[in-house]
Subunit: 221 residues, 2 copies
């Protein structure tokens, strides 16, 4: 099926905004609330929209003329391809997941990423997404199973499912979540509160390139 690729480019609408005087109606004199430590310009910066609108350098479509670096078809994500995990990486991630990890915090992601990086190119966001997706998909898979089971009241022997818990129950602490199947209705916040103190979505620094992040939770430990 053709994907169609609409390429709408709704962008660019506001970038040519002409005058934007910002202060048009509201904007009061702005008492410098507290001086941002840095040499707060005594005069309030005029907020020049143009200065940060920047046309964005074009969309970089896939079929573009020059790429084709596909030749190496390697793991070094050529240009814009998505992460393609190796078996080792998946293995480790699954192990961690089975171990109970569901939403690694920034620090954990950083470390996991570092480790997985030994097996192939990877970035923090990939790890983050992996957990998000895996968690969600395990959940829906289980839900589907439950429905199936309910529908046909068979399975006296607990055969399937519960696989996980049974396998790793050995750990005393259980899976720290008991949300094995809670349909997210359960307030996860209450009990995880402490544990995800510095939970933030993270992003990792790769080489010189500093990455950025927007994070969640300033938390400042």
């Amino acid at each position: 099926m053709g994907s169609m690729k609409v390429h709408q480019f709704a962008r660019g609408f506001w970038e040519h905004e002409p005058s934007l005087t910002l202060g048009c109606k509201r904007l009061r004199p702005l008492a410098p609330k507290l001086s941002n430590t840095d040499n707060t310009p005594t005069t309030v910066p005029p907020f020049d929209l143009k200065s940060f609108i920047r046309p964005e350098s074009g969309p970089r479509k896939l079929g573009s003329s020059d790429d084709k670096r596909e030749t190496a078809h390697v793991d070094t994500h050529p240009g814009g391809t998505r992460w393609n995990p190796t078996q080792e990486q998946i293995g480790i991630l699954e192990m961690l997941y089975r171990g109970g990890m569901r939403t690694p915090n920034a620090q954990q992601i950083e470390q996991i990423t570092a480790q997985l990086g030994k097996y192939g190119k990877i970035e923090g966001k990939n790890v983050f997404y992996w957990f998000q997706n895996h968690k969600a998909r395990e959940r829906q898979k289980q839900k589907r199973n439950n429905l199936g089971l309910n529908h046909s009241p068979r399975a006296p022997g607990v055969t399937t499912t519960t696989t996980i818990s049974s396998s790793l129950t050995h750990e005393s602490r259980g899976d720290f979540g008991r949300e094995e199947d809670s349909p997210y209705k359960r307030k996860c916040r209450s009990w995880t509160f402490e544990c995800l103190e510095e939970d933030k979505r993270y992003c990792r620094n790769e080489g010189d390139r500093t990455l950025e992040l927007f994070p969640l939770h300033p938390e400042n430990r």
Copy 2:
């Protein structure tokens, strides 16, 4: 407000995992699906879990001894509070929103953050979240209004608030992008984000190669 902080420490569950032989049972021979051609390190790193679990230097609780370096630029978040936007910041954000911006990409967020930073402490995530929330809430407000109108053909009565929207809804334009409320956005933008906060790293946009999309924020001193 008593925070209470239960400090459950659900953490540490997987970190003391003893053996983790990774390949123990599952891990099939792994038919090299395609060999991935990756220059697989001849010797696969053994994946030493311990190496990245790192005792984590202790939980670093809030009341720890050394914190408090917050003294500098006390400006806003003293420590763990959430972003508290100034009027100027809100003004600009709303202007941008009215201008049609709905989901700024990384680059835009970066620039906006930089600008807004002149009016008070702010981080990229705040901008990100602001747009997310504002968009969602405008939408639900509108939906509510529509329902309200349908349901009871009375004048909306201005029950309470709705201050903003009612007063300035419908600026002349505001449609532009046509993405007013398309069920879903067209598609992606690549998130290239670079850091700029902390004003220690500079940010140079290097094409749109890697992007990182989320964040973390180390707040290293």
